[in-house]
C-alpha cells in the first residue's frame, strides 16, 4: 500500500473566496506530513473536508486505495480518521471519564474500564491523565492529551492535528512531539497542520505548502531550508528582523504594585504582580494563555476590580477607577478579541469616533462631517482597506480591523498603550505592519505594555520581558540578554537560576 489517504483536485468555494483550489494531498502510512501555510491559506478547510465537516465542490478522496465519500465525522471515524482540533472540543463541565464515555461502546458508565484503558495508552504512548478530574481543571496541554486519547479510543489510524501547539508551552510541545513520534513508530499516519516553520522542521517527514487556497509544493523536510520554505509560504522573501532603534527612556508612565485580581470564577488569577514601564519602553509579558494575563490587563484598564495593590499611571493612583477616567490620562487599549475592540455591526466611521464621540457633538447632536473627515484621515494614515467609511466593520479583514483599532486608540494623545495579542490571527504581512507601528509609537515616547503568547513577537519588540505563570511573574529579564530556552522554561513554571 503506497498511500493511506489521497486527495485529488479538491476545490471548495465559500461565498466570495475559493478556500481550496484544485489541491492535491497524500499521506503515507507511518509518516508525519506537515501542512504548512499562513492563516487563510486553506489548510483547515482541506482538513475539514477530509474529516467530513465540509463537502468538496470538486475532487476525489481515496482512503487505502478506495474512493470514498466522507459526509460526516462519523464517516471519517469509520475510515479510521480522527481530528485533534486546534482548540480542544472537550465538554468542560464533565469529568475526563465522562468525556471519554461519549465515544466508547456500552450503555452504563464504567470507570474502571476507562481507567485501565488510559493506563494502557499511557504505557504505549506516554499519554497520562486523571480520569476523575473535571475537564475545566485541566491545563490546555492536558486537554489536548484528552483529545489525543479520544482519537485513539475511536481506533484512529489517521490523525489530523490542527495547529496543535497554539495552546501549549514549549515543554508541552516537546512532550507532544514525543507522543507523536511514538504513534508514528506504531504505524499511525499523522497530518500536522501548522504555520510555524520551526515546528514543522522538528517533526515532519514531508511538508506540503498551501498559499491562498493553492498547493505550492510538497517536499521532504530534509531537502529544504527554513528560508526557502518561508518564501514558498509567503510568496516573497521574508525578513525575520525588525529594526529597533535605541531610545532613551523617559519618565515612569505605569507603575503596578503588588496587584491582586480575581477571575470570573472568583479565584485569584493575578497573585501580587509588580512592575513599571517608562516612556519609550516596551514591556513584554510572555506566557501561555490563561495564566492571569487577561485579568491583569483588565485590572489596569479599569475593566476588572482590583482586590489588592495599586495601579499608578503618570503619578496618579487609578486603582479601581472607571475606564473613562483611565482613558482620559492618555491610555490606549488594544484588546485581544477584536469583537471587544470594535463594534462589528457599526460602520468604520462610527468605530473610529467611538472613543471620543463627545468631540464630535454639539448639544448632543453629532457633527457627522467632522467625524467623516477624521475617519478619512485615519483610513489613509493607517492604510485601512475599506470601500468607504460607512461599511460595517465586520466586512473588513482581520488585519484591517486590527489597524482600525490601532488607529482609533493611538491617533489621539497616547501616553500608554496596552496591546493584548495585537497580531493574533493576522497573516505575516499584516503582522509585520502592526509590529512596525508599535515600534514607531515607541520611538515617539509611548510606554507600551505588550502581552502576547507569540514568543517571537515578545523577543523582537520588547525592551524587558516578564514571564507570567499561574498569576505571578517567574522573572523579568532584559530582552538583549534573554534566551528563548530560558523564557520557555519559565513559561512552564520553572524559575531561572540566579
Amino acid at each position: 500500500m503506497e498511500t493511506v489517504v489521497e486527495m485529488k483536485g479538491i476545490t471548495k468555494r465559500f461565498p466570495g473566496v475559493v478556500a481550496n483550489d484544485h489541491v492535491d494531498f497524500d499521506l503515507k502510512p507511518g509518516e508525519i506530513h506537515a501542512l504548512l501555510g499562513e492563516n487563510g491559506a486553506g489548510k483547515t478547510t482541506l482538513m475539514n473536508i477530509l474529516y467530513g465537516l465540509y463537502r468538496p465542490d470538486e475532487g476525489k478522496i481515496f482512503v487505502r486505495g478506495e474512493e470514498v465519500k466522507i459526509r460526516s465525522p462519523k464517516d471519517a471515524m469509520e475510515l479510521g480518521i480522527a481530528r485533534v482540533p486546534q482548540f480542544p472540543e472537550t465538554v468542560d463541565n464533565l469529568s475526563v471519564a465522562e468525556n471519554l464515555a461519549l465515544l466508547l461502546p456500552g450503555k452504563i458508565l464504567r470507570k474502571n474500564k476507562i481507567q485501565s484503558m488510559i493506563k494502557e495508552l499511557a504505557e504505549r504512548y506516554g499519554l497520562e491523565l486523571d480520569v476523575d478530574a473535571m475537564v475545566y481543571e485541566l491545563s490546555m496541554g492536558e486537554k489536548q492529551r484528552l483529545e489525543l486519547i479520544k482519537a485513539l479510543c475511536r481506533g484512529a489510524e489517521i490523525l489530523i492535528l490542527d495547529e496543535p501547539t497554539t495552546v501549549l508551552t514549549p515543554s508541552e510541545v516537546e512532550s507532544l512531539f514525543q507522543v507523536l513520534r511514538r504513534m508514528k513508530e506504531e504505524g499511525k499516519s499523522i497530518v500536522f497542520v501548522s504555520h510555524k516553520l520551526e515546528e514543522v522542521f522538528a517533526i515532519a517527514d514531508r511538508i506540503t505548502v498551501l498559499r491562498r487556497g493553492k498547493k505550492i509544493a510538497t517536499v521532504p523536510a530534509k531537502e529544504i531550508t527554513k528560508l526557502e520554505l518561508a518564501k514558498l509560504m509567503v510568496g516573497r522573501p521574508v525578513t525575520f528582523e525588525l529594526k529597533k532603534e535605541p531610545v532613551v527612556f523617559g519618565e515612569e508612565v505605569l507603575k503596578v504594585n503588588n496587584l491582586r485580581v480575581l477571575d470570573d470564577r472568583g479565584l485569584l488569577a493575578v497573585k501580587g504582580v509588580s512592575f513599571s514601564i517608562r516612556a519609550g519602553e516596551i514591556f513584554g509579558i510572555a506566557g501561555v494563555a490563561g495564566n492571569g494575563q487577561r485579568e491583569l490587563v483588565e485590572a489596569i484598564t479599569g475593566l476588572r476590580r482590583v482586590e489588592d495593590g495599586e495601579v499608578v499611571i503618570l503619578g496618579k493612583d487609578v486603582t479601581n477607577k472607571s475606564s473613562a477616567d483611565i482613558i482620559k490620562l492618555g491610555v490606549a487599549h488594544i484588546p485581544d478579541d477584536r469583537r471587544v475592540g470594535a463594534v462589528l455591526t457599526l460602520s468604520v466611521m462610527d468605530n473610529l469616533m467611538l472613543k471620543n464621540y463627545t468631540n464630535f457633538s454639539k448639544n448632543g447632536i453629532l457633527d457627522l462631517r467632522k467625524a467623516r473627515e477624521l475617519a478619512e484621515k485615519l483610513i489613509e494614515k493607517y492604510k485601512i482597506v475599506t470601500p468607504n467609511v460607512n461599511v460595517p466593520v465586520q466586512q473588513l479583514s482581520g488585519g484591517n480591523i486590527a489597524r482600525l483599532i490601532l488607529a482609533r486608540e493611538t491617533s489621539g494623545e497616547c501616553k500608554l498603550l496596552i496591546a493584548f495579542h495585537p497580531t493574533f490571527g493576522l497573516d505575516v504581512a499584516a503582522t509585520e505592519e502592526i509590529r512596525k507601528l508599535l515600534l514607531e509609537l515607541r520611538r515617539k515616547g509611548v510606554a507600551i505594555l505588550l502581552v502576547s503568547e507569540d514568543l517571537e513577537e515578545i523577543m523582537q519588540l520588547s525592551d524587558r520581558i516578564a514571564v507570567m505563570y499561574r498569576g505571578t511573574f517567574m522573572g523579568i529579564v532584559d530582552s538583549e540578554k534573554a534566551k528563548v530556552e530560558e523564557i520557555g522554561l519559565m513559561m512552564g513554571g520553572v524559575k531561572p537560576e540566579t
Partner: protein, 302 residues
C-alpha cells in the same frame, strides 16, 4: 407528630404535578433546549386526560394520551428551536399561549362535569405506618410512578452513556457532533420527554388532584416548574425538594384563607417564593458550583 405526617402527605400530593413537569424540563434544558411552554403543555395534558377519562372511564388511557399530546406540543417547540433554529424564548412563550388556548377551547363542555372514576390513595402496608416517612407511602399510583421516574431519570442522566451524551449536548454540542452522535436527535428526544412529563403533570392535576376541569387550572404551575429547574440545579433528585416545598406553599394558601388573609394576596405566594428561590439560586455561592448548561438556548448548527 401526626400533623407533620399529614402535612407532608398533602405536600407530596400537591407537589407531584410540579415534580413531573420539572423533571421533564430538566431533561430538555440539560440537552440545551429551554422550553418555556411547560404551562401550555400541562394545560393540554390536563384537558386531554380529563376528557378521555370522562368518555372512556379509563384513567390509564387518559394519562397515556395526555403524555402524547404533551409530546405533540413539544414537537412544535422542537421543530422551531432545533430544526429551524428560531429563538427558543419566543417559541416557548408562543407554545404556552397556544396550549392554554387549545385547552380552554377543548374543555368548554367539560367544565363542572364530575369524573366517573376517582384515583384513590393506596397505602403501602407497613411502610405507610412509619411516622413522617410514611407520608411517602400513602399516595396514589401516579405519585409512586413519579418516585420511580426520579430515580430512573437521575440514573440515566448521571450513570449511563446516554446521560453523558445528553449533558454534553447542553454543554458543548460541537463535541457531541464530533463524536459522531446526532445532536438533533438527542435534543428532540429530550424536548419530547419534557413534553410528555409536562402532559403527565397536567393530567395529574385534572384527574387525580382536583379532580375536575376548570379553565386555567394549571394556574402558573408550569412557570414555577421552570424556576424549580434552576433551584434543583438541573438534578432530578433535588427537583423533589423544590416540588414538595412548592406543594407545601399551595397547601399553605388554603390553610391561611380561613384566617382572613385576602385571597388575591395569597395567590401571589407561590410567585413571591419563586422570586426568593431565584435570588437564592442566582447568588454567588450557588452559581459557582453549577450554572446553567453552557449551550442552553444556543441553536446548534452542523
Amino acid at each position: 407528630m401526626e400533623w407533620v405526617t399529614d402535612l407532608l402527605t398533602m405536600m407530596i400530593s400537591a407537589g407531584t404535578p410540579l415534580l413531573l413537569a420539572t423533571l421533564g424540563e430538566i431533561y430538555a434544558e440539560r440537552s440545551g433546549i429551554l422550553n418555556l411552554g411547560v404551562e401550555g403543555m400541562m394545560a393540554v395534558g390536563a384537558v386531554t386526560a380529563f376528557g378521555i377519562t370522562l368518555v372512556t372511564g379509563n384513567p390509564l388511557l387518559g394519562f397515556l394520551l395526555a403524555t402524547l399530546t404533551g409530546c405533540l406540543l413539544a414537537c412544535v417547540h422542537a421543530f422551531l428551536s432545533i430544526s429551524i433554529r428560531s429563538n427558543q424564548v419566543i417559541s416557548g412563550l408562543a407554545l404556552s399561549m397556544l396550549g392554554l388556548g387549545i385547552s380552554s377551547l377543548a374543555g368548554r363542555r367539560l367544565i363542572g362535569t364530575p369524573l366517573p372514576v376517582t384515583i384513590r390513595k393506596i397505602p403501602v402496608p407497613l411502610l405507610s405506618d412509619i411516622p413522617v416517612i410514611g407520608a411517602f407511602f400513602n399516595q396514589d399510583p401516579v405519585t409512586y410512578t413519579s418516585y420511580v421516574l426520579v430515580v430512573l431519570l437521575w440514573f440515566i442522566l448521571f450513570k449511563t452513556k446516554l446521560g453523558v451524551i445528553i449533558r454534553a449536548c447542553g454543554e458543548n454540542p460541537q463535541a457531541v457532533h464530533a463524536a459522531g452522535i446526532d445532536v438533533y436527535l438527542i435534543r428532540y428526544l429530550c424536548t419530547l420527554i419534557g413534553g410528555a412529563l409536562a402532559g403527565l403533570g397536567g393530567a395529574y392535576l385534572s384527574v387525580v388532584y382536583t379532580p375536575t376541569w376548570i379553565e386555567g387550572m394549571t394556574a402558573g404551575q408550569g412557570w414555577i416548574a421552570i424556576a424549580l429547574v434552576i433551584f434543583a440545579v438541573w438534578n432530578p433528585i433535588y427537583a423533589t425538594v423544590g416540588a414538595y416545598l412548592f406543594g407545601g406553599i399551595r397547601i399553605l394558601q388554603y390553610r391561611l384563607q380561613p384566617l382572613g388573609i385576602s385571597v388575591p394576596l395569597l395567590k401571589t405566594l407561590p410567585y413571591v417564593c419563586t422570586i426568593v428561590v431565584l435570588v437564592v439560586a442566582s447568588s454567588g455561592k450557588f452559581r459557582k458550583r453549577i450554572g446553567a448548561p453552557a449551550a442552553l438556548t444556543i441553536p446548534f448548527e452542523k
